[in-house]
């Protein structure tokens, strides 16, 4: 290294060489500290709204709203889609999760931006092509969509929320996510390692 000062400031800017500065991605937070932060957000949701967090619910609302908007007669015949056009909704806060997801998009961006971790890229292992990654991503996403609907939630809505409430179904769901993940890991290892 030369004589220039190497300074890692709050925004992750390294000064290497005179006048040259590279914005390096900051290291991630201690996962336990980030976890406490997550837990406090979850607690805030319980205390303020009386409900936990959620993500898959927003996707359901988007799909149903889309179906009812594009093909309303089709949506009415299907019990699943028609509930979303009901006056009496079983969940009056269904729009809440859509707005919350918009918040997640913003929050993720803010954190990534501040930490210089924003990068237009494809996250994948070294032994697979981008197209292969996209294929896995789409299929994996579809499978998760089905699993989340069956279980009435995803990792945020069921595992985190229900987990904190000592909810039996949520804990079972969470345990089987790990079982399923580890079971399938060997078969998709080409994508990651």
């Amino acid at each position: 290294m030369d004589t220039a000062t190497k300074k890692i400031s709050f925004l992750g800017t390294k000064q290497i060489g005179k006048g040259k500065s590279i914005s390096a991605p900051q290291p991630y937070w201690n996962p336990y500290v980030a976890g406490v932060g997550l837990g406090l957000v979850l607690l805030a949701a319980f205390v303020i709204m009386g409900r936990g967090l959620g993500a898959s619910g927003a996707f359901s609302t988007v799909v149903s709203t889309g179906v009812n908007a594009i093909a309303p007669s089709f949506g009415e015949k299907n019990e699943f889609f028609s509930t979303y056009s009901d006056q009496v909704s079983a969940n009056p806060l269904k729009d809440w999760y859509v707005i919350e997801v918009i918040g997640i998009l913003i929050g993720g961006f803010i954190s990534g931006f501040l930490a210089h971790r924003f990068k237009k890229t494809v996250d994948k292992g070294p032994n697979i092509s981008v197209r292969g990654r996209f294929t896995y991503a789409f299929i994996g996403g579809a499978i998760m969509g089905i699993g989340a609907k069956l279980a009435r939630g995803c990792t945020s809505g069921q595992a985190l929320t229900g987990g904190a409430q000592l909810n039996v179904g949520s804990w079972l769901f969470m345990i089987f996510i790990f079982i399923g993940g580890y079971a399938a890991a060997y078969f998709v290892r080409r994508q990651w390692i």
Binding site: N30, S60, E79, V88, S89, A90, N91, Y97, A151, R152
Partner: protein, 175 residues
């Protein structure tokens, strides 16, 4: 540095949870709601000093209201016009409104004010139009006779699910 940080976190969690063991239960014994089944049985037993309040609009009230309920709209209700000695059950379409009003009563010192858990929705689904699902257990099938009797007391229509059952409303639960 990281290690000490984690140890502090872990230590705090352990301490808080040890105290939790000592504390036992986080719930206070006082419930602020009554379930539809319990409420139905209370009505059948013709309990004295029971006031039932329908918090909805007049139109909804006239379409259907729980027997013996009076109609006082949520926006106009005043706890001071009620007797604190009576058991008061408040209900709305679901329970979002009734929860809020019940809390209002609670703050005014009412110790026997409850909201109907699930409101008219659950009253309809559980008391007036109860359904025995096809794949119920034997115990559930036996118990359904009591549920049927209770339903018919209120002029309801109990139903045992079979191939020709009326389409049920998909209730979205979870997130």
């Amino acid at each position: 540095m990281k290690l000490t940080q984690n140890k502090i976190l872990a230590g705090s969690a352990i301490i808080l949870s040890v105290f939790a063991v000592i504390a036992g239960s986080p719930f206070s014994s006082k419930k602020s709601y009554i379930n539809p089944e319990q409420f139905a049985d209370t009505l059948i037993s013709k309990k004295q000093n029971l006031t039932v309040v329908d918090l909805r609009d007049k139109k909804d009230y006239n379409d259907y209201h729980i027997p013996s309920a009076i109609n006082v709209n949520a926006t106009r209700i005043d706890p001071s016009t009620f007797d604190q000695k009576n058991m008061i059950v408040l209900y709305s379409g679901r329970d979002n409104i009734s929860k809020t009003i019940q809390y209002k009563f609670e703050k005014e010192g009412f110790k026997k004010a409850y909201f109907l858990n699930g409101g008219i929705d659950d009253w309809m689904n559980k008391i007036i139009f109860p359904v025995l699902l096809k794949n119920s257990s034997e115990a559930e099938k036996k118990n359904f006779e009591n549920i049927e009797r209770r339903s018919m007391y209120f002029g309801g229509q109990p139903e045992r699910e079979d191939e020709n059952s009326v389409k049920k409303i998909y209730r979205r639960e979870g997130c």
